[in-house]
C-alpha cells in the first residue's frame, strides 16, 4: 500500500478529532468516532502487514508543509511497517473497546477529540523521515495523551499524575531535540536521509546514544526515568491506559531503534553495555514494585516497565553482537526483542481491558476490595487468565516464545571477545531469569486475589458480566496470544526484513522447518515447537479426563470449604494482596525498597489492638528525583527575589547586561 494512503488515513484521524469537537455531547459521537477510528486503524494494519509480508521497497513522500528548506518527509520501510502493524493492532482493539465502554464515559467530550488525535500522532511518528516531523508528531502524541490522562482531572491523584507526566515528557523531548541537533550537525541536514549519508564522530555518537536513552527511554519507561509511568497510565480511561502501556511505549522503542540502529551508523562495542544494564535493572525493579502494589492498574503499569526492560536488554545484546560483527547472533537478539514488543502490546492491552471491565463492573480498582470475580464474570475471567499466563511466559503461549528466543541469544554470547561483555552477559541472563520468575509470581497474585477466592466487598459480590463488545475484543486478543505462541515461525519470518535492515542479517528461514518448529541457529542445536506442545497438553488432558470419567467415578458434590475443619464465613480471613507479597517482600524487600516491618505489641493486660506497619521507600525517587526537585525549588526561591526589585534596580540590570555584551563584542578575536 503506497505511503500516501497511510498519510490519508492519518489526516482522516485528525479530521475525526475536529469532528469530535464539533459534535460535542451528541450521543452518536461516541459510536461514530470510535467506529471510524476502528476502520482507519484496521486499514493501516492491513497495509502494514502487506508491506511487511511482501517485503516491499521503502516508499518515500515529501510534503511541502513544515520547515521551508526541509519540508515534511515521510518514509515507509520495514521497521516502520512492523511498528505500524503493532500500533494499529492495539489502536483497533482500543477503538473496539471504546465502542463498547464509551457510552458509560461520564465526560465523553474530554476523551473523544483527543483519542483520534493520539492515534494520528503515534502513526505520524512512525512514518516521519526528518527530525522536524518526528519531533512535532512526538510532541503532538505526548500532548494528546496528556489531555487524555487529565480527562478525569477532578481526582487529586490524576492532577499530580498529569503534572509529573508533562514534566517528564518535556525532558524527554528536549533530550531528543539535542540528539537530533547533534546528528544533523552544523550543516543543519535534518532529513534522515541526509543524516544517514553524513557520518557522526565517535564522541558525538556516544553523546547521541545517551540522549536517545534519556529521550526515548523515558517515554518507554526505562529506569530511572520510569517514575511517571505508574502515575499516568492508571489515571487515564482504561482503553487509553491500554494504548499508553501497550502501544505508546512501543513508539518510544521505535524511536530508540531508529536513532541508534539506523541513524548512528556503525556501533562501538561498548554501546550495548548501558542499554543491557539499564534494561535488566529496569526489568527486575519494575516487577518487584509490581509485587507490592494493590491497585490493579498500577500493577499492570509496573509490569509494563518490566517488559520494556526485557526489550531493551534484547536490543542491547543485539547492539553488542552487531558491533563485534556477529550478525547472525545480532539478528536473533533483535528478533527476540521485536517479537517481545509485539507480544507485550497484545497481552498488556488484554490485561488493561480486563482491569477496565472489572472497574466498570464493580467500580473498584483496589485488589483488597475484589475477589470471586471468576464466578460472576466468567468470560472476562477466562480471557484475563490467558493474558496472565501469556505475560508469565508459560508455554505454549506467545510470552514464552519471545522469552525462549531471548534466552537462546544469551547462550550465544560467550563468543563476544571483550571481557566486560563476557562478564556482563551471564549477569544479564540471571537478572532476566529472575525477572521472569518474579513476573509469574506477580500475575498469580494479580489473578488470584482479584478473580479467585471469595468477594471481599459488596461491590465485588454484585459484579456482572460486561458488554459483549468488550468481551469480543478480549477474546480476539486472547486468541492472538495463543496463535502467536503456537505459530511463532510465521512471526519470525515476517520480522526477517525488519531485522535485516537493522543488523544486516536475518534468522534462518523458519517456514521450511518440519512441523512448524522454530530453530534459531540450527535444528541440531535447539528447537521448540509450540503447536506440538499445545497438542500434547490438550491430548493428555483429554485422555486423562476421558479415562478417569469412564474407569473411575465422575460424581461431584458441593459442600462448604474444608479449611482444616475451622471454616470462617468472613471473607476477610483469606489472603490479601499484601499478604501474598509478604514472603517475597521479606526476601527482596530489604535490598530493593529498604522495607522495614514494625510490630507494636501491647503489653499483657492492655486492651488496645496490636499494630503492624510496613515502611517501604522508592529508592529511585528518593535518591535521584528528590535532590533534583529540592535543588530546583531552592533555585526558584532564590530567583524569586528578582520579582520584587525596584525600578532603579531593574534599570541597572538592563544597563549591566548591555555593558557586558559590549565588552564581549570588544574582546571577540
Amino acid at each position: 500500500m503506497p505511503i500516501a494512503l497511510f498519510l490519508a488515513c492519518d489526516a482522516s484521524l485528525l479530521v475525526l478529532a475536529v469532528c469530535a469537537v464539533v459534535l460535542h455531547r451528541r450521543p452518536v459521537a461516541t459510536t461514530l468516532i470510535y467506529g471510524v477510528a476502528l476502520a482507519l486503524c484496521l486499514a493501516q494494519l492491513a497495509g502494514a502487514l502487506i508491506h511487511l509480508v511482501a517485503d516491499a521497497a521503502p516508499g518515500v513522500i515529501v510534503l511541502p508543509i513544515g520547515l521551508p528548506w526541509v519540508g515534511a518527509n515521510f518514509r515507509l520501510d520495514a521497521l516502520s511497517a512492523f511498528f505500524l502493524g503493532v500500533i494499529n493492532l492495539g489502536a483497533a482493539a482500543a477503538s473496539l473497546y471504546g465502542l463498547g465502554a464509551g457510552r458509560r464515559e461520564p465526560e465523553p467530550q474530554r476523551v473523544l477529540p483527543f483519542f483520534p488525535a493520539f492515534l494520528a500522532g503515534m502513526n505520524l511518528v512512525l512514518l516521519a523521515d526528518d527530525a522536524f516531523t518526528f519531533l512535532a508528531s512526538w510532541e503532538f502524541m505526548s500532548l494528546a495523551s496528556w489531555a487524555l490522562v487529565m480527562a478525569h482531572h477532578r481526582e487529586r491523584d490524576n492532577a499530580r499524575a498529569g503534572y509529573v507526566y508533562i514534566v517528564m515528557a518535556s525532558v524527554g523531548t528536549m533530550a531528543l531535540l539535542l540528539a537530533f541537533g547533534l546528528l544533523a550537525g552544523p550543516a543543519g541536514g535534518y532529513a534522515f536521509a541526509a543524516i544517514r549519508a553524513s557520518g557522526v564522530a565517535p564522541g558525538l555518537a556516544a553523546l547521541v546514544l545517551g540522549l536517545a536513552l534519556i529521550g526515548a527511554g523515558s517515554k518507554a519507561g526505562l529506569a530511572p526515568l520510569h517514575i511517571w509511568l505508574p502515575l499516568a497510565h492508571p489515571a487515564a480511561p482504561s482503553h487509553v491506559s491500554a494504548l499508553m502501556s501497550g502501544v505508546m511505549t512501543k513508539v518510544a522503542v521505535y524511536g530508540f531503534i531508529r536513532i541508534v540502529f539506523d541513524l548512528l551508523g556503525p556501533a562501538a562495542w561498548w554501546w550495548g553495555v548501558p542499554v543491557m544494564v539499564l534494561g535488566a535493572a529496569t526489568a527486575v525493579l519494575g516487577v518487584l514494585h509490581a509485587l507490592m502494589q494493590t491497585d490493579l492498574k498500577r500493577v499492570l503499569a509496573y509490569s509494563t516497565i518490566e517488559n520494556v526492560g526485557l526489550i531493551f536488554a534484547g536490543l542491547g545484546l543485539a547492539l553488542a553482537f552487531k558491533a563485534n560483527g556477529f550478525v547472525a547472533a545480532a539478528a536473533l537478539a533483535a528478533t527476540a526483542a521485536l517479537f517481545h514488543a509485539l507480544n507485550h502490546a497484545i497481552f498488556k492491552s488484554l490485561l488493561f481491558f480486563g482491569a477496565g471491565a472489572v472497574l466498570t463492573s464493580t467500580g473498584e480498582r483496589g485488589m483488597e476490595r475484589l475477589g470471586g470475580l471468576l464466578n460472576r464474570m466468567p468470560a472476562t475471567g477466562l480471557f484475563v487468565l490467558v493474558g496472565c499466563a501469556a505475560i508469565s511466559a508459560l508455554p505454549p503461549l506467545n510470552g514464552f516464545a519471545s522469552d525462549w528466543l531471548l534466552l537462546q541469544s544469551i547462550l550465544l554470547s560467550p563468543q563476544l571477545p571483550q571481557w566486560a561483555l563476557k562478564i556482563l552477559a551471564p549477569a544479564i541472563g540471571a537478572m532476566l531469569a529472575l525477572a521472569a520468575a518474579l513476573a509469574a509470581a506477580c500475575f498469580v497474585r494479580f489473578f488470584g486475589i482479584a478473580f479467585l477466592g471469595r468477594p471481599r466487598s459488596p461491590a465485588a459480590e454484585a459484579a456482572r458480566e460486561v458488554d459483549p463488545t468488550i468481551i469480543a475484543v478480549m477474546g480476539a486478543l486472547a486468541s492472538l496470544c495463543l496463535l502467536a505462541g503456537i505459530l511463532p515461525a510465521f512471526v519470525i519470518d515476517a520480522l526477517a526484513p525488519v531485522v535485516r535492515g537493522l543488523t544486516g542479517a536475518q534468522m534462518p528461514w523458519q517456514g521450511g522447518i518440519a512441523w512448524l518448529s522454530i530453530a534459531p541457529i540450527a535444528e541440531s542445536r535447539s528447537s521448540y515447537n509450540g503447536l506440538l506442545v499445545f497438542l500434547f497438553i490438550t491430548a493428555s488432558a483429554s485422555l486423562a479426563a476421558f479415562a478417569i470419567h469412564r474407569i473411575a467415578s465422575n460424581k461431584l458434590r458441593r459442600a462448604p470449604a474444608w479449611d482444616c475443619g475451622y471454616p470462617d464465613a468472613n471473607p476477610a480471613t483469606q489472603y490479601t494482596a499484601e499478604s501474598f507479597g509478604q514472603p517475597i517482600r521479606r526476601v527482596f524487600g530489604a535490598f530493593a525498597f529498604r522495607a522495614h516491618e514494625r510490630v507494636d505489641m501491647p503489653a499483657p493486660g492492655e486492651m488496645r489492638p496490636a499494630h503492624l506497619s510496613v515502611a517501604m521507600h522508592d529508592l529511585v525517587w528518593e535518591f535521584l528525583y528528590l535532590p533534583v526537585i529540592r535543588a530546583v525549588e531552592f533555585l526558584a526561591q532564590r530567583l524569586n527575589y528578582l520579582q520584587f526589585l525596584t525600578i532603579r534596580q531593574y534599570l541597572s540590570v538592563v544597563f549591566g547586561a548591555l555593558v557586558s555584551l559590549l565588552l564581549v563584542l570588544a574582546s571577540w578575536p
Binding site: 571481557w419 562478564i423 530489604a590 535490598f591
Partner: protein, 220 residues
Amino acid sequence: MKGLSFDLAHLLAGGLVLVSFMLLYQNRLYSLLNVFALQAVVLALSVAWQAYVQGAPHLYVTAAIAIVFKAMVIPIALHRIIARLGIHREVEIVGSLGPTMIAGMGLVALSMVVMLRVTADADPLAREDLAFALSVVMLGLLMMVTRRNAVSQVVGFMSLENGLILAATGAKGMPLVVEISVAFSVLVAFIVIGVFLFRIRERFDTVDVQALDQFQGGRR
C-alpha cells in the same frame, strides 16, 4: 591423562573457592571452624595432586603441613579458646546475606578477569589456578571485612593464607624453606593474636571489635 589431570586440578581449586563461599555464610562459631578445617583438607588434596602431577615431592610436605596444622591443630586450638572465652553464640554478619554473596561473586569475576588478562601467555593450568587463588584471597578479605567477632576475623585471615599457598603451588611451587617459614610466621601471628584476645577480653569484657572502637582515644 593430561585432560583428566587438568580437570581434577581445576575441580579441587574450584572446590576451594566454593568452601571459601561457605565460610562467608556461616553464622555459628563451631561450624565456622569445621568449614575452615574442610578448606584446609581441600587445600591439602589440591597441593598433593599438584605434587603428583608436577613430580615435586616437596609439595607433599606442604600438603602434610596443611593437614596437620590447618585442619587439626589450629581448629582444635581455636575450639579451646572459644570454649574458654565462652563466646559460642551467633556470629553477626555486617550486611545481610544476599548482598554479601553478590559482592563475593563480583570479587570472583574481578579476580578471573584480572588474572586471565595479566597472564595471557602462561601455562593455561597455572593461569586458571592463579585466578582461583586470587578469588580465595579476595573472599578471605571480604570475610574479614564483614565480620564483627575477632575470632572469625582470624579465621578469615587464615583462609586468605590458604589462597596464597594455592597460588604458590600453582606457580610451580615455592622452595620448601619459604613454605615452612611462612607457615611458622602465621603460627606465631596466630599465637600472638590468641594471647591478645584474652587480654582484650580481660580489659573490656568483650571481643566485639566494634565495641572496642568506643575506647579509641581522642574521639569525642
